[in-house]
Symmetry: C2
Amino acid sequence: MRWARIDHDHTPTYAIVEGDTLIPVRGSPFATWERTATRLNLADVKLLVPVVPPTFYACGMNYAEHVRAVAARIGQPPNLPERPEIGYRANNALIAQGETIVIPADATDKVQYEGELVAVIGRTAKHLTRENALDAVLGYTIGNDVSERSWQKSDRTMYRSKNTDTFKPMGPWIETEVKLDDLVTKVRLNGREIISFPTNHMVFGVVDYLVAMTKYVTLHPGDVVWMGTEGECANMKHGDVCEVEISGIGVLRNPVVREGM
Amino acid sequence: MRWARIDHDHTPTYAIVEGDTLIPVRGSPFATWERTATRLNLADVKLLVPVVPPTFYACGMNYAEHVRAVAARIGQPPNLPERPEIGYRANNALIAQGETIVIPADATDKVQYEGELVAVIGRTAKHLTRENALDAVLGYTIGNDVSERSWQKSDRTMYRSKNTDTFKPMGPWIETEVKLDDLVTKVRLNGREIISFPTNHMVFGVVDYLVAMTKYVTLHPGDVVWMGTEGECANMKHGDVCEVEISGIGVLRNPVVREGM
């Protein structure tokens, strides 16, 4: 099943996606819901961020080639994480399918995409086990962890390198029927494929992270866990369109502008 | 004016605090509101966390003596921040006035309080100036940034050192009439005062942070900014009661237990 969150008569509303048709529901996939009799055309609808998370979790350094690329960039030996330790991003930066990534006027040209799988938590959960961890996941969506590399290097925190407004595109929707090992992530800039990698070739997988996190933290319905990206990333510039595709989920597409251009 | 958030007939409800009386309102201080005819006794009411923030911001290293104490603990020279760079905490860890700080069974004995002023944002704001920054603040509450120091040292992120469930007491309410320079923060363990410091003697103040942050990020109603703590902190153990008092705001009081004791 595929869950979109849409602007329906100016009210954020969950809707089931069936092909090109949307069926708004009363309620939400995080609680109880029932179909309405309304049918909408996907093309006529404004998609919203599929969920505004109570807590916005994100892995860093979760693919081997990306760890090596980052290490080379900062001139240090690569250092694969030894444990699944989760980090954070911020809701102010979220934008939806089709919305514009805005590069601040004082950013360098090193503003890069990071195409990521996002696990969307469906229920309250603590002390998950390897056996039941995935039961806590409602489904999966796509994230683009846009990053300004000079700020990422110079700043004590990631408040502007990764959490500048518009730097966290997420969508287009939540897909509940996903077989993690079958997924492939592709990133395209202006239609040209830059990278393609097996989504589940992570240093630590979704189960590893959920088990480790919930030893100490309670997950809540709507929490999201961004799972990191693979490889070296390329710069995005004014006028570009960035697409992150994950097979079986969809394509997250966002144009890029630079302030003042 | 003093705003509490209470459990009123099992519904989170904002209420005006007048002495020992609570006056529930329809609406909220972050939008529009009107008084109801109900009057409740403060002693009879369950206080909730005064707001669940869309984004939970926190300063690290924002008082000179604390920076020196941390540097001494990790055996490095003290390094005062040169710029106001904001960090993050996580909503899963929030607890309210009177709720229990639970130390995990595998934590060391180095679980410490950090008494902090918390600025609560009242309106959507970007590009704040030194002149209008404080207009974006609805009021102030108190936070206890509970921290497990061995994990803070060993882990790549602060997901368990600072964001273990129950590690973020916040309350008891939001006070809107505050003169920052008059405030004094005191921390007491089991009634004994451990530290007392002028709340506003920060490396970077509320205005500095809000101006710097909103160059890149949009603040939203209900966002909170924890302003850091002063001095060396002491360990809390099973059976302790920790109180953080800020003059003119109130006293945030939480008991401490260790899992499995």
